[in-house]
Structure formats: structure tokens, C-alpha cells
Subunit: 458 residues, 2 copies
């Protein structure tokens, strides 16, 4: 054990185990704790850091699960051999950080089920799109090719009640990319209201574009309109179909109130229609964009969850005033999606393959959702919420802390996400974790639920 | 003719015909000059605007060539019927602005020759990449998949003398996108030194990310290192292989001086290796990145010109210190290139198809370059420069103004670009235009050269 072991200065607002875990991980990454070095025993680390045993256990479980430390029989934990990044000279080139070791069951929220993906259709369509369209090699429209945008306008009108012309659509390589364009388009908006808890990438994007995030609490109906008005922000970002991470679906009344807010001069509402494709217990609520009479809603959506993460195609619909500004600001910025892929996707949409794929995956997810939530609900004391739509939900178990829920699951090699990770000022609902299930098979979900039941046994 | 015709307030630094053209185009776009309205005669507009006949003629030629006005026999010009963007209510949705009418010969610099593109190989590879790799549907590495990055590292070592490991490479959908990431990565750099004249997209990107462009003069060897030092900027962007738009190739001595500048604390040099693939009269000079001992060069390149604009794959190579920062800042930002397309490109590279394609297109461009420059050199008084590499060059004809060169070419339906369009403070070399030739066939280049010879006849 090193004579002085690197310890964090703890601060408010983030779980202690998370601060401890990240501090030690960084020390191993940087070489401050060299490969093979023995780490303090759990008991000793409790004393050194002045934290509880459960905090230390959670931190060590995470470090072990992500490959930063190795458990050696009878000698405790030692630091793994990660080649540090920064300590090398320019061309003595760094190795990549060790890939996180595979979790046995990864219940993070980013995976999707690709087992139903129609490979042979997609491969055939892709080949056709290349063969039949030599002209697609030349530069296309900066907003994306018009035939794809026309197909998107039809699709969104039918599925989501969106009202737009193809000319208002901007196609781009991922929702994060489009959000970045939008933030560049609105330099005079210094603040952006974001859901709290909310999507971390939106907070990160705001900061990278020099904007101040204004965290707005989310209640059982979504973003709180009074807190939004009080914030003074004129730009807000919401996920009304299935709020991330709480899973709330915003009811019509709340939508009206937010649209009313957006109707004020120079206000804009970004509607990220995340997870709108999958609903299990009720009919989908149409997009706010279709109700917007004032031209103040920017609608965003993506195919990375409804088709596959590999398909980097997202779209946003700009109201006319922003469209004009977009064309001036990004006149020379090429569309970031390959024209071949645009044409492949268009064929996938207009031939009805996308509709069929959505029905198949919707049925798959419905079954997985029912199976996993039923099994987890059997764990004594568990409450679930946000499971009526989308691909993740919340689990609350008051007799354990959040850190214990995450750490004990990690000790069984099941990855679940602490809700507090998504909080930015709001206090997290205690003893709550976020579970995604889309990437696991029904068999895996059954086993994961059994492991979690063991891990969280009273 | 409207009683009062919209006229610009002219300002310094941009050609008068360009200001006049853009002002009238905007007035037609906005509906201020309604569809069908008669425009002032050329003579009358000279008087109204207080400019010369050649300025008015150039502006009207551009307006006609881009479809803003129609020439009616015996009644002069009338405004075309473009549905305005902003004048409509939210869902009374705008039509797209009229597509610019096709030029007969477009000598702009963005086109490439795709006639040699190996369609059947690419279609087959693409189909294979989809079929054989179901795992590619799941999220990949945020920097791009490692196998593609390994192939890129090999390619760049061989072709450009670049020294890097695959871990330093970030793959993204286009050079503009990667430059945007880089500017977000360097928030403390408030200024960026840019070549003047230089690439307009770099200026636009700097402004969109809240940075102040510091225009640095370009001489016969590239960016002036003394002006760079004097500017106080700590971040600079250069195109040493074939400067845009002057076509200068930076010699080794100048490269050393810029690397010396970059060696100072906290300085970074962005080397955009634009147009490095095609050289006609001498061996390529290796990239500056390979000579950088201090870890201060960010290298960028793209396949949009060497393969096709449709292939939205570009790459940047980060020095270790920035790589670490990149991983912290963009930890959750997915790669913007479809994994299928990454895998297709990798196969294209490692099977030698890219090398073969480069040789074929290199020969094509060499022939086009020789043909076009020979024909143009026959026009009395013409001087050419920057034609030893890349896909564009400069043409100077002192007995005409720049506006006359552009306008008379437009009157023959040949599109050439005014050099002053790329100037940001530096005075443009007078009587000079930029010509691209990659997108035209040899027959078209012969005809375009003949039309230009007529247009610019003494």
C-alpha cells in the first residue's frame, strides 16, 4: 500500500461512493497509483477517507467491475496495469485506457435490441442505393436530401402528429450533433432551461457552447412550468414522451402550459421526442410541435433507438424564423449523413420496412418490459415507476441506499445506474436506480432479476 | 419598376457588385421585391446606386445565373417567383428557395470527379459490411471503431509521414464537424489565427464558437510566421499542402518556423492536410504532424475530396494532452459516422482499393489540370498560379477587374469565384479569380476555356 493514498476532497451534491470511485480511478489512470500497487483494505480506507463501509464497498465494486483494480485472493485489491495517457512524450504514444471489463448483465439505458433488425433487407437496400445512384457521390443539400426529408415529414405526420414541410427539416448525424447546431444558431440565448434530473449530454452540450444550464425540477407531469417561468430562461429543452431518466409522460395539460410559455416573445422550446416510439399501456400523445401555433417549437428525433445505434440519422424541424437563420448561418455546412445512407433509410421508410420493424421491436420490448418488471416487483419493498413507455424505468427500494443498490448489484456483475448521476441541483429521489432492459434477452433479464433479488436481499 | 428600389449601404472590404447582388437577392427572397416586379434598367440602377455599369452588369449576371431574376425580351429583368421564407405564419409553411439555376460550366472548387469511383466494389463491400457484422448495430467507440483507426494510422504513415497510434485518431462526419469539436475542446483559446485569404468555413466556425478570428497574411510560402507571432494568438489553422485559395504549397523551411511557433507553451497548430492527395509536379512534402516533437499539432484530413463528397468520413489526430482532454469532454458523444460506413471504408482501404482509386483519379486530374491550364494560358494577358497541386488554381488577368472577370464569365454561364470572397482584411490580389476543374470532363473544360476566352476578349 502506498504510504499516502490519494483521497478526494468530498463535496456536496454527488454520492460519496461515486466521488471516491472516480478519484481512485483517475489516480490509477494517471499512474499516481502504479500498476500492481496494493490498495488499502476496505476497513483502512474507511478510516483514511472518513466514510462508511458501504461507501467503500460500493466504490471498490465499481472499480473492480470496470477493470481499474483486480481482486487478488487473500491480498485484497491491486491497481490494474493501465498505460497512463498524459505521462508519455508526444510520440511515445499512449495505449487506450483499458476497456471496461464486460459486465455480466448491463442494465444501462443506451443499448437497444437489434435481434429483429432486418439485415438482409438493409444490406440489399444499401447495395441498391449505391448502385442506382451515382449522382449521390456529389455534394447533396446541406439540410439532407429532399426525398428523405419528404419521407420524414410524412412519417412524423402519421406517427406523431407533427406538422411541417420537408423544407423545415434538417438531417444530421445524431441528436447530439443537431443540438450542437441549434445551440450555435442561438448565440444570444445565454441560458438554457434543462430538466433536472435530466439527460447529461444536454448539460454537457450547453456548457461546451458557453451556455448556462438552468436546471428545472421535474414532477410527476414533467418539467415544472412555474419554475421554468421563474428561471428567466427563454430557451428550454424537454423530453415529453418519456422523460429521461424519470420516465414521466407529459400529459396534455402540462404540454399546453409549456406551449403557452413558449408563445412569449423570443422564447423557444426544444422538444426532444426521445423514446416516443414505444408505449405499452396507452396511446401515444401527439408531439407538442403539432400544437404549436406560434412557431416556437424545435422538434428533434432520431433513429438510433428505433432502428439501431449504428444508424446515425437524426432530424430536427425548425420553425420558419429559425429556418431562415439556419440557412444563413450554416449555408456552407455539408450534411453529416452519407447520401447513400440517407437514400437507404428513405427506401426503408417508404417501403414500409420501418413500420414493420417498429411493430416487431415494440412487441419484443413489451414482453421484456412485462417480464423484467414482474420479476423485480417480487423483490420485497421494491417500487417501480416510468415503465409505461420507452426502454428504461426507475426502481426504488427504501431499505437500501442508492450506493448500496448500485454497489451490491455491481458485486453480482449487474450494472445499474444511480439516479443521482442525472441530478444537477435537485435532490435525487433516495434509494433509486435507473434500469434499462432493451439490450438483454428475456433469458438474461430473468437471470439479472434473480441476481438483483439476491444482491438486494433484506 | 417599384417606386423605391431597395439599395444597399455599401461598405468597405467586399466588392460592390457582390454587395449589390446580395442585397437585391435578399429583397427578392423576402418578398420586398415581389415576384414579377420589373427591376430598374442597368443604366437606371447605375444612377440610383451610384456605381459603375460594370458593377451593375456583374450583379445582374449573377442574379440571373442563380435564378433570382429572369431576363424578359425587350423589358429587362423581372423578379423570379421565390416563395419567401419568413413572411409566412408558422404552419403556412415556406417553400424552399428556388434551387440556383444550373450553370452551364461550374468552375467552383467544391466538385470532384466521381467518374472513376468503383461503384460495384463499393456496393459489394457495403453489402458485406452489413451482412457480416450484426454487432455493428450496437454503439461503437466514440472516437470511431478501432479497426478503421488502425487502417488510417497505417495509411497516413505511408502516404503522409504521419506518426500516431490509432488511439489518437478521432473519426467524424466531415472536417467541419471535427473542427467544431476541436473548438469546443479549447474554450480558453479566445482567438484563432486563420489564413487570409482563407477557407470561409473556418472563419464561420470560429465565430459560431465564440472565437475571434485573427486573419494572418499568406505569402508565397503560406502563412506568415512573423504576423502570426505578432498576433498573440496561441491557436492557428493552416492548409500547408495546397493553401486554400492561393494554392501555395508550404516549403519545409516555413513549416519549421511554424512548428517552432507551435512549440511555445500552450500553443496548438491545426494542420488541415487539404488536397494533399494530388500533386502534379513534385513529390509531396510530408505532413508537419510527423515532425512535431512537442505534441502541438492537430492533424486533420478527409475522404470527401479523395473519394467523394458523399463519403462523410474525416479524421483528426490529437496530441496526447488533447486526447486526454477530448476523452473527458466528449466521453458520451457518439461517433457521427455510421459503423457500417466505417467498416466499408476500412475494407476499401485495406484491400488496396483506395490506393488504386487515388492513382486513377490522380491521373485524371493531372490530365484535366494540364488541359485546362494550357487553354487558359492562351488568353492574352493571363497568369496562372497554384496549379501544381490540388483541384483549383488562381487566374489573374490585369486588364479586367475581378468583378468584370466574374460577371462576364457569368454572362456566358460559366461560374468562377472572385478571390476577394476569401479575403478577410488582406487586400485581394486584383483581377484574380479562383477556378476549380475537378467536376468537369475534359470536353467541358475545353468548352469552358473557350467561353472564358470569349468572355474576357480584349
Amino acid at each position: 500500500m502506498p504510504a499516502s493514498f490519494p483521497l478526494p476532497v468530498f463535496h456536496e451534491g454527488e454520492p460519496l461512493y461515486d466521488q471516491l470511485y472516480r478519484h481512485i480511478a483517475a489516480a490509477i489512470q494517471s499512474g499516481e497509483v502504479p500498476p500492481g500497487a496494493k490498495l488499502p483494505s476496505k476497513r483502512r480506507l474507511c478510516a483514511l477517507a472518513g466514510v462508511s463501509m458501504s461507501t467503500v464497498e460500493t466504490a471498490y465494486s465499481l472499480l473492480a467491475a470496470e477493470g481499474y483494480v483486480l481482486a487478488k485472493p487473500r491480498s485484497g485489491y491491486v491497481a490494474a496495469d493501465l498505460l497512463p495517457l498524459a505521462a508519455h512524450a508526444a510520440h511515445d504514444v499512449p495505449q487506450p485506457p483499458a476497456e471496461p471489463s464486460k459486465w455480466k448483465y448491463d442494465c444501462s439505458t443506451s443499448a437497444v435490441d437489434v435481434s429483429a433488425f432486418p439485415f438482409s433487407s438493409w444490406a440489399r437496400i444499401t447495395k441498391e442505393a449505391v448502385y442506382e445512384n451515382p449522382r449521390l457521390l456529389q455534394p447533396g443539400h446541406p439540410q439532407g436530401d429532399l426525398p428523405l426529408r419528404a419521407a420524414l415529414a410524412d412519417l412524423l405526420a402519421e406517427y406523431r402528429g407533427v406538422k411541417c414541410s420537408p423544407e423545415q427539416i434538417v438531417v444530421g448525424a445524431g441528436a447530439d450533433y443537431l443540438l450542437s447546431l441549434l445551440l450555435q444558431l442561438l448565440p444570444e440565448y445565454r441560458e438554457i432551461a434543462l430538466e433536472d434530473p435530466g439527460y447529461p449530454s444536454a448539460y454537457a452540450a450547453a456548457l461546451r457552447h458557453g451556455k448556462t444550464p438552468a436546471p428545472i425540477p421535474v414532477d410527476g407531469e414533467g418539467m415544472d412550468p412555474e419554475a421554468l417561468s421563474a428561471s428567466g430562461a427563454r430557451l428550454a429543452y424537454v423530453t415529453p414522451s418519456h422523460q429521461f431518466p424519470l420516465g414521466v409522460t407529459m400529459p396534455a395539460g402540462r404540454r399546453s402550459r409549456l406551449l403557452h410559455w413558449a408563445g412569449a416573445e423570443d422564447h423557444y422550446l426544444i422538444e426532444d421526442d426521445y423514446d416516443s416510439e414505444f408505449r405499452y399501456t396507452s396511446r401515444p400523445i401527439p408531439a407538442m410541435q403539432g400544437l404549436d401555433r406560434a412557431g416556437r417549437v424545435v422538434y428533434m428525433g432520431t433513429f438510433s433507438r428505433s432502428i439501431a445505434p449504428a444508424i446515425r440519422v437524426a432530424y430536427m424541424i425548425l420553425p420558419p424564423a429559425l429556418l431562415e437563420r439556419y440557412r444563413q448561418t450554416f449555408a456552407h455546412t455539408a450534411c453529416t449523413v452519407s447520401r447513400f445512407e440517407q437514400e437507404s433509410l428513405r427506401r426503408f421508410l417508404v417501403r414500409g420496412l420501418y413500420g414493420r420493424h417498429l411493430r416487431r421491436t415494440g412487441n419484443l420490448y413489451r414482453k421484456k418490459n412485462a417480464l423484467f418488471t414482474e420479476k423485480l416487483a417480487e423483490i420485497p419493498g421494491v417500487t417501480l415507476s416510468g415503465q409505461d413507455a420507452g426502454l428504461h424505468f426507475l426502481l426504488t427500494l427504501p431499505r437500501l441506499t442508492e450506493g448500496e443498490l448500485v454497489g451490491r448489484a455491481a458485486a453480482k456483475s449487474v450494472r445499474v445506474s444511480p439516479l443521482s448521476r442525472y441530478c444537477h441541483g435537485a435532490e435525487a429521489r433516495p434509494s433509486t436506480v435507473v434500469l434499462g432492459y432493451a439490450g438483454l434477452t428475456e433469458g438474461e433479464l430473468t437471470e439479472a432479476a434473480e441476481l438483483l433479488a439476491e444482491a438486494w436481499r433484506p
